[in-house]
Amino acid sequence: MIAVTKGTNLLTDEPPPSMSTGAAPEAALASDLTRSDVHRMQWQQVIDEKLVEWGRYPAQLAEPDLIPPTDSAIRSAVRIAMDMRDASPSHPPPLRVVPDGDGGVVFERWEGSSSESIEIHGDGGAEYVQIRNHRVIQRTAWPTE
């Protein structure tokens, strides 16, 4: 879990193998910046390029199968992303940041058959979910205040 199960945390312990957020490759930056610096920049990109854009123009995502993130979900997602960014050291950024299709947002990382996600719901509440071999092995509330 991101802040609970030290040692198995994909979102806290391991560097990201790749990013879908358009973030600069770590190798190119590693000589001048610490890993934490890079993670901080990548979280900022998540905020600026995804969350803020979705909050400004939610209709850009709307489809019959996709209800765009609500204002409450965006606010909670930004708050969580800022907390992850500002932690010391900064937490690894998610490999995928997507709308959940029902008014929420999901941050997700994975490695092998395991994955972790923070599901931010349309009402602004959030949960941490850990998956192994397609099975939910943990689901707990994630603080958003």
Binding site: E63, V98, P99
Partner: protein
């Protein structure tokens, strides 16, 4: 003309499409897990289940991509096989839709099921997204539509 098959049971060898827009991020070929489980997560409108479209009802995949398409967007079709969906316990029901022929709902992935047991819904969506999508067609579009 493709067959009109409203109400006809879905055969195991039938191909079904799940339609996703490029803006959703639910399909990202740059990732080692290119298909997000969220592509199969029901929303509050999915009272009977998420929507799939029968390939046999259309002359081409591109025609499926056009269903309800919005301007300046592209669409992908996640290709599924009815028999493999059944192998993981999925139930498919032909359900007429004003949007077009060949509409099928995946009943296990409905808003009601999500409220009842969201872990079960998540697990089935994970299985389908990561193991059962046979192919991805597209992108299709953008299409010339008046509504954006």
């Amino acid at each position: 003309m493709p067959p009109e098959d409203a109400g006809e049971p879905v055969a195991d060898d039938e191909v079904l499409y799940r339609r996703v827009s490029d803006r959703s991020g639910w399909y990202d070929p740059s990732l080692d897990r290119p298909i997000a489980w969220e592509a199969f997560r029901p929303n509050e409108r999915d009272l009977d289940g998420i929507s799939l479209w029968r390939a046999r009802s259309y002359e081409s995949p591109e025609r499926v991509a056009r269903i309800g398409a919005k301007a300046n967007r592209q669409y992908f079709l996640l290709v599924l096989r009815a028999g493999t969906l059944r192998s993981v316990g999925a139930t498919m029901l032909p359900t007429p839709s004003p949007a077009g022929p060949g509409h099928v709902t995946l009943a296990n992935l409905s808003a009601i099921e999500y409220r009842r047991d969201r872990n079960a819904v998540r697990e089935l969506a994970e299985s389908i997204a990561h193991d059962l999508v046979e192919d991805v067609e597209g992108p299709f579009g953008p299409f010339d539509v008046t509504e954006g």
